[in-house]
């Protein structure tokens, strides 16, 4: 019987860890989840993961696992370490790559979710064949993975591509990183909620969202309201798109990508965000680039994207 080479892609989240076996073409042949138990050290997660992964592998006839890719919050791809991850009570610095490599005895790559998403997009998604592109992940925060000359931009310290923390406005909104005015305080699910509340305070327009307390407000509620024609919700999306477009124009001046992919919940807000952000980006862009850079939704299947991205880390390392 023919053997099939597979990469094991592992996505470690604060609550749940998902993993799957992915072939070179990006087919997820089997997947499963376990609890992360993030309050316990990484040393207890890895053996549980290994045992469950072995069980799942037994269902795959003729499979040979050739590498492991792990995606974890705040992971540094250069060092393979996870440092100060907010939802994991791990040591300040955990050598995750070393732990996983020792357990599985396979080539192992570790990175954060945005870099994994970028490689997933390049190997299995909309960036196939592209040498220069950017992936923006929009969730609670804003992450980014930058690819230039066909390689991830990791920089000297493995920390390049932190577009969530470029500055929109000195002295602007307070950010979790300790500064003020970072892009992710404006463009992200929480950024959208903050903008909506600013607009509720600033304007006298009627809005269904005036009935919602801050702590209960979600980006989804703003989306639903905007689709129903709520003027404040629509304005909140427009401002978000404008800020995103402005800072993406700056990003284009840095790395000159062919395309920028939006990934994650907010990216699904189609015409409310993607279209206007493209128009604003072109407006703010250095004229020579105008019309050359497409803003696109991610081409990865959203259900398996995290596992695909993690597996792409392994496949990409094996290919280079």
């Amino acid at each position: 019987m023919e053997t099939r080479d597979l990469a094991l892609g592992i996505d470690i989240g604060g609550t749940t860890t998902s993993f799957g076996y992915v072939d070179r073409e990006g087919r997820v042949l089997a997947e499963a989840t376990i609890a992360t138990e993030g309050s316990r050290p990484a040393q207890t997660l890895v053996p549980r993961l290994q045992a469950r992964a072995r069980e799942v592998l037994q269902g795959l006839d003729g499979a040979r696992v050739v590498g492991v890719g792990v995606c974890a919050p705040n992971a540094n791809q250069n060092t393979g370490t996870v440092e100060h991850a907010v939802n994991l009570a791990w040591d300040p610095v955990t050598d995750l790559r070393g732990l996983v490599r020792a357990a599985f005895d396979l080539p192992t790559e570790v990175s954060n979710d945005a870099n994994a998403a970028a490689l997933g997009e390049m190997l299995f998604g909309g960036a196939k064949g592209m040498k220069h592109f950017i992936v923006i992940t929009l969730g609670t925060g804003l992450g980014s993975g930058l690819v230039a000359n066909g390689r991830l931009l990791l920089g000297a310290d493995g920390l390049a591509g932190e577009l969530g923390h470029v500055l929109v406005q000195p002295g602007g909104r307070q950010c979790g990183c300790g500064r003020r005015g970072c892009l992710e305080t404006y463009v992200s699910a929480t950024g959208l909620c903050r903008t909506l509340f600013e607009l509720l305070a600033d304007s006298r327009e009627p809005s269904a969202l005036r009935a919602v307390p801050y702590r209960d407000l979600t980006a989804k509620m703003i989306y639903v309201a905007a689709c129903a024609g709520d003027p404040v919700a629509r304005e909140a999306f427009d401002r978000t798109a404008r800020t995103l477009g402005q800072k993406l124009a700056d990003a284009v001046a840095h790395t000159g990508p062919e395309a920028i992919f939006l990934f994650g919940g907010l990216a699904a807000a189609g015409d409310l965000l993607l279209g206007p952000a493209q128009a604003y980006m072109d407006e703010f862009m250095f004229p020579a680039y105008r019309g050359h850079v497409r803003l696109l939704p991610s081409g990865m299947e959203s259900g398996s994207a995290a596992i695909l991205g993690a597996a792409a880390l392994a496949w990409n390392a094996l290919a280079s």
Copy 2:
């Protein structure tokens, strides 16, 4: 007798074209200049250049020329073309690489001055051994060359690394590119003059520069006044350093360099610009990078820097 491999580095300016023969270690063994005669087509410059370069070469015993690097305004390194160069009345698009390659019958690279400066810094200057760094050229405008993973970032269209045109402020100062608010309208020799005039209008501080009309004002005059303690001139430098520091912090979030080099006239304004810009950059920087990125003066000899940069284009291409 031993033969010595040399690259011919050519720097085409609006008025003067300089060239020199440079060895692999960055020694300029002979150099000369000719008039560019920019009102005539490039097809007339290249044969004049070739004739003069041949004469100069005859003075170098045992030399073998192995490649040519050409630095020209608005040159696109991907295509080898010069497009819409402001001070050259050339065709809208001139295949400069093709012309030079045909004339000299040697491997030829063409790029703009900021990219050439970046490669010069990498091969012969302060960035030796660095894989990730940025060079900012400060003159009438602001140019930049970005190196990541040991390679120039040229992007999909050969136009990456245009930090002169990242946006400081939507609707800000009018820029030559047709937009408003570009970095080079604030941070450059002309940007400094514009800031000085804004401050003269805004404040009531005494200043020797109140006697100078706008068209006569130079960055050098502001430098001299600042050194003499002129408060408005000092404030103009401080604002320039602040804007530069802010946008360099953004640049760091994109590419994560080890160091940023300042090159050109304004870069020589040492403690008035470099020191404060480093402090502002650290203040605006994502905390994880803070203290990791040095802002340095160029390590290239300023007299020969343009020829060294052009020669570095050739040496770099021959090495890869």
